[in-house]
């Protein structure tokens, strides 16, 4: 087990390093000049030079890359003397437009996006796996057809469309749930929950569809295996056959896909934030793009990549737990 974890850990660090270098290369070496953007008008050559020096973009690229990477590990500072700005580790950059380190900005918005993402993921796993199992067990009946019709509709419907129709139906017409906004959990747990129901259901509806399809296919295949017949012949109860022997095997590919979908979940959160007017990380990213706050955009992109790689590492470990064969091979 230790060897398995160490192997994955090494792979993860390598991936993070490559991702950081590639992001740096794309964003820092392209013609758009961050110093030019923040130098103000009129932008005299002296001002521009000062801005460059302050941001550290006057250095050769390899020193910039070094400072960038080192900032993530140990923090860094911009400028010298009294005007210096320090950016504590892990420093994903500094937004000169908002006068805050990207890490702080991310931390302030993180609870909103995390609330949306985690709840949606839990709900979609439950809905998707349950729907798929039921459809597989009642194969070719009306239950199966209903679940699968929902599934193909869910696969095809864009999340924002589902979300907006949800707002229209449950928010404005029935007035069951609030139509948007976010209330911090610490402030009012009930309102937090009520505000999040629609975003959760929206994202879960889209992704659960894919999981239902996948689980159904896997369950049908697993339940047709010889060992399932053997277990039944032994007189094991049907519930136990389905859960312990069927689902236990059918769920393995679902875990794999779940790891791959976490990146998509982050994207879905960006969309959900716009639909339900929540001020989370996605809204911050869009604002950053519109105001050309490159440091913020780069920092957040890198952070999201790190988050996904880390989440995948955890899913990998989980995978070893769900499927003992993986550990044995490592």
């Amino acid at each position: 087990m230790t060897r398995f974890i160490l192997q994955r850990l090494g792979g993860m660090i390598l991936v993070l390093l490559v991702v950081a270098i590639v992001s740096f290369a794309i964003f820092y070496l392209l013609p758009t000049n961050p110093a030019q953007l923040s130098c103000g008008k009129p932008c005299t050559p002296e001002n521009l030079e000062r801005a460059k020096e302050f941001m550290g973009t006057n250095l050769p690229w390899w020193q910039q890359l070094g400072a960038f990477l080192w900032g993530i590990v140990a923090g860094r500072s911009f400028g010298t003397g009294d005007a210096a700005i320090s950016c504590a580790a892990p420093c994903f950059g500094y937004s000169f437009q908002l006068n805050a380190s990207v890490t702080e900005l991310i931390a302030s918005r993180f609870p909103v996006s995390a609330s949306i993402a985690v709840g949606a993921a839990v709900l979609w796993l439950l809905m998707g796996v349950a729907g798929g199992v039921v459809a597989a067990l009642r194969r070719n009946t009306w239950v199966d057809r209903t679940v699968m019709t929902f599934a193909i509709a869910g696969v095809s419907a864009p999340s924002y469309l589902v979300g907006l129709l949800g707002i229209l139906l449950f928010g404005f017409t029935l007035q069951w749930f609030p139509t948007g906004g976010y209330v911090p959990l610490t402030e009012d747990p009930l309102q937090w929950f009520l505000h999040l129901i629609l975003p959760w259901c929206t994202l879960a509806f889209i992704s659960a569809a894919i999981y239902a399809r996948l689980t159904r296919g896997e369950m049908i295949e697993t339940m047709g295996q010889d060992y399932i017949r053997t277990v039944r012949a032994k007189g094991v109860g049907e519930g136990r056959v389905v859960v312990r022997h069927g689902l236990r095997n059918a769920i393995i590919p679902v875990v794999t896909i779940f790891g791959l979908d976490l990146g998509g979940l982050l994207g879905g959160t960006v969309i959900a934030e716009k639909v339900f007017s929540m001020q989370g990380l996605g809204a911050m990213l869009i604002d950053g793009v519109n105001t050309l706050d490159l440091q913020l955009v780069i920092g957040f992109t890198l952070f999201s990549a790190f988050l996904i790689v880390l989440a995948n590492f955890i899913v990998d470990l989980l995978y070893g737990f769900v499927d003992p064969r993986v550990k044995a091979r490592a």
Partner: protein, 311 residues
């Protein structure tokens, strides 16, 4: 996942793989046929957009402020539906919504299909070469594919829109970005098929006759994967269309005034209570085209993979 379409143990291709077989089983599948018809209708609508909108003498750019009330909402039932404005008009501007939806099909299909072509091109190139040549080249690229698979691609796409120079045409930029992030899935599928095809006798024969590696890979192996490529291409189109719509929805995609379903839906967010039809028409169009591609793709996949077991 499709398995190699061969009669087991013999390496002889089964008769279930040819293009004629695929066409026949798609035609037998009601849903896939319906999907294909919807796609044809949308493509025709996109191509004939100027003619269709000429029927009522509308275009997606002219303002009709006289059709709005003081708050900017369209006057009349269903967002101002009338004989001249079949889908009603846009709030605030009064532009013809039918024209916007029809012209919106152009950008959606253009970006969706072009990005798919780019993805398939890169994916097939990488898939065939890594599967056929193997070695360290395969190991590195397979790792890249692994990493790209789980990536928050939408976040990356949004971020990249921040650095593109404004002079660069936005639709072309979107095709490149969306296409570039889409290739890993098809590359993995193609690689898997090439790995099994590589061991077949015809490859050995070609190599023995002195054909170069590239010639065998692209002249002999690639045609045997083409059916799979067609299926995966069909399955990819809707997700590419979805990315374009999502970026435009978030306001970082196609800039106004070019009509785009995603952007119209994005603008409809604040009108959903007052003028829901503003959301419904472009939303239905986007949903229908995605559904159509998914149904056709499902049908094609079933045709190729008899194990799949129907819907």
């Amino acid at each position: 996942m499709t398995t190699a379409n061969t009669i087991e143990g013999t390496g002889i291709p089964s008769r279930r793989t040819g293009f004629r077989h695929i066409v026949r089983s798609v035609l037998r599948d009601r849903w896939a046929t319906a999907g294909a018809i919807v796609i044809i209708v949308f493509v025709l609508a996109a191509l004939l957009a100027p003619l269709l909108t000429a029927i009522t003498g509308q275009n997606p750019y002219t303002y009709h402020v006289d059709l709005l009330d003081d708050s900017g909402a369209p006057v009349g039932w269903g967002g101002g539906i009338s004989a001249t404005h079949w889908f009603g008009v846009e709030p605030l501007t009064g532009r013809d919504l039918f024209s916007i939806v029809v012209y919106g099909a152009r950008i959606s299909l253009l970006v969706g299909i072009s990005a798919t072509v780019l993805s398939v091109f890169i994916g097939v190139l990488v898939g065939v070469t890594t599967g056929f040549f193997g070695g360290w080249y395969d190991r590195i690229l397979s790792r890249v594919v692994d990493v790209m698979f789980g990536f928050p691609v939408l976040v990356f796409m949004i971020a990249l829109t921040a650095i593109v120079p404004t002079a660069f045409p936005k639709p072309l930029f979107m095709i490149i970005v969306i296409g570039f992030f889409g290739w890993p899935s098809i590359s993995r599928v193609v690689r898997g098929q090439v790995l099994s095809l590589r061991e077949r006798a015809f490859v050995t024969a070609s190599t023995a006759m002195g054909a170069s590696g590239w010639r065998v890979a692209f002249g002999q192996v690639l045609p045997n994967v083409s059916a799979t490529i067609i299926v995966y291409t069909t399955i990819m189109v809707p997700s590419m269309i979805g990315f374009e719509a999502a970026l435009s929805f978030l306001g970082v995609g196609v800039p106004p005034p070019t009509p785009s379903w995603g952007r119209t839906i994005g603008e409809a967010v604040s009108w959903v209570q007052i003028s829901p039809m503003y959301l419904v028409f472009p939303g239905a169009a986007l949903f229908l085209i995605t559904l159509a591609f998914n149904m056709l793709g499902d049908g094609l996949r079933d045709a190729l993979d008899p194990k799949g077991g129907g819907r």
